[in-house]
């Protein structure tokens, strides 16, 4: 079953265009949603949550159409946005008291358990929580109302390595039973190397590729060659950089020819992102 099915979403702003965005997230998995700042990650997420009006396209969550069943589906969606705070001068307790009233499946016991597990102090004000604690608080809220799809927009940005690591462990623990699915947008690709099952890469409003993480990475190769060899492959490279030893460039694995006398290795997510961004710059 699909937890999230985004089909041909189009949205035009005067200086930005989301073009035919489509991707699917299987239930019980973590999908990393990557792209540089301004690539369209947040716009896509807002479209999923019906916060912006799509020009065309459809969003299905847990098998149901979001535009028809928005209120029912929002009962099953947990959402957290890194770096945006609400009612920061209110105490955790007060905020929870208000939020829980909106959810029919709210479970106080689950909430208590997560407070203990995450060592969240209910008497603290939101502003007093660390960035990591705020994300944990959002997770506690989402899980206490029985959310099946968690959407996190840059949850790990601004976190120290220890807090990030802890959070990624929590994410993996959540999907382990197969009921909960996570869509997780970030530009910190190392987080995804660790915990994502699928990767969706968006650039300049278009999905470059969406698929299983290893397959995603293996569909590209990072080539190292001497400067004299560059002309031989230049046309096929997505983009390249020159250095004192020659060049390094990204190429689609299917465009690679074994007869070339060059070193080829599977790139990291970061390298894929960086070389795609460089390609973009060349056209500008």
């Amino acid at each position: 079953m699909l937890a999230l099915d985004v089909r041909n979403v189009n949205k035009r702003y005067h200086n930005f265009h989301l073009k035919n965005v489509s991707f699917q997230l299987e239930k019980g998995y973590i999908m990393g949603f990557i792209g540089e700042n301004g690539a369209g990650k947040t716009t896509t997420i807002k479209s999923i949550l019906n916060m912006t009006h799509m020009d065309s396209g459809e969003i299905h969550v847990l098998g149901r159409n979001m535009s028809e069943y928005e209120l029912e589906l929002k009962q099953e969606i947990g959402y957290a946005m890194g770096g945006v705070d609400f009612y920061t001068r209110s105490k955790v307790k007060a905020l929870t008291e208000v939020i829980k009233k909106f959810y029919v499946n709210w479970d106080d016991e689950t909430y208590r358990n997560y407070l203990l597990k995450f060592k969240l102090d209910e008497n603290k004000r939101i502003a007093e929580l660390s960035t990591g604690m705020k994300v944990k608080y959002n997770i506690a809220i989402a899980l206490s109302h029985g959310a099946k799809l968690l959407i996190f927009d840059e949850p790990t940005s601004g976190l120290d390595p220890v807090a990030r690591d802890e959070l990624l462990d929590i994410f993996q623990g959540l999907v382990a039973e197969g009921e909960i699915s996570i869509l997780f947008s970030t530009h910190i690709t190392s987080d995804l190397e660790r915990c994502a099952d699928f990767i969706t890469f968006i650039q300049n409003g278009q999905i470059v590729r969406s698929g299983e993480k290893e397959e995603f990475k293996e569909s590209y190769l990072l080539l190292n060659g001497a400067a004299t060899q560059l002309n031989q492959v230049k046309d096929r490279l997505i983009s390249y950089k020159m250095n004192s030893f020659g060049f390094t460039g990204l190429i689609l694995a299917r465009d690679f020819n074994n007869s070339w006398d060059m070193k080829a290795a599977t790139p990291s997510l970061e390298e894929i992102m960086v070389y795609f961004a460089k390609k973009e710059d060349e056209y500008v």
Binding site: L49, T52, K74, V84, F86, V98, F102
Partner: protein, 217 residues
Amino acid sequence: MYNLVMKDVRLAIHPFFFLFPFLMGALMLIPNWIYFIVLLYFCWITIPNLFNQFKAQNDLMFTSVMPVAKRDMVKARVLVIVGLELLHLVTAAIFGFISMILYPDTNYLFFPPNMGFWGLNLVMLAIFNLIFIPLFYKTAYKFGWALFAAVTAAMLFAGISQWLGIQNAVVNDIFYGTDAQQVKLQTFILIAGILIFVALSIIAYRLAVKRFRRVEI
């Protein structure tokens, strides 16, 4: 709906704004004052503070993520505004009643705080709502120009009706008189005020919903 109103009450509206009507209402005890000002303080102080708080605390985002319909978000916000307006009006009317007992022989230059005057106040707030609420929901977070336009209109209404009350013999007779016939007329004006207030607030709500549906959050 109830949950949304309670969200505003518990998180966004400082208790001060529920006590404020009593402080402002007490201004009715100033003899022979321009009593229109008492309710205008709501437009001048409460509204901008409230809407600044909603904006600063990202209320729009906070609420949009939750399972609530856009229509209900507007309805709850209109109820909050109308509720506070009525709280201001009722407390001011009570203080006004006390004021009339305290100073029975006042020769009122500005409108005396009788039923006819409260009818005019309701119309003033109705005009304020009709302009402020739909203009605000064009963006659902910017309130400056909406407030400016609505306050200007409300003050113009108050100013013109007060001017007529002083200058025009017929209007003066209706609003300042204490005979049975005039009191009856003032009661009708109050009822008309209530109807206008309800009608314009509903229209404001409907227009706001239409505009809010187009807002990109």
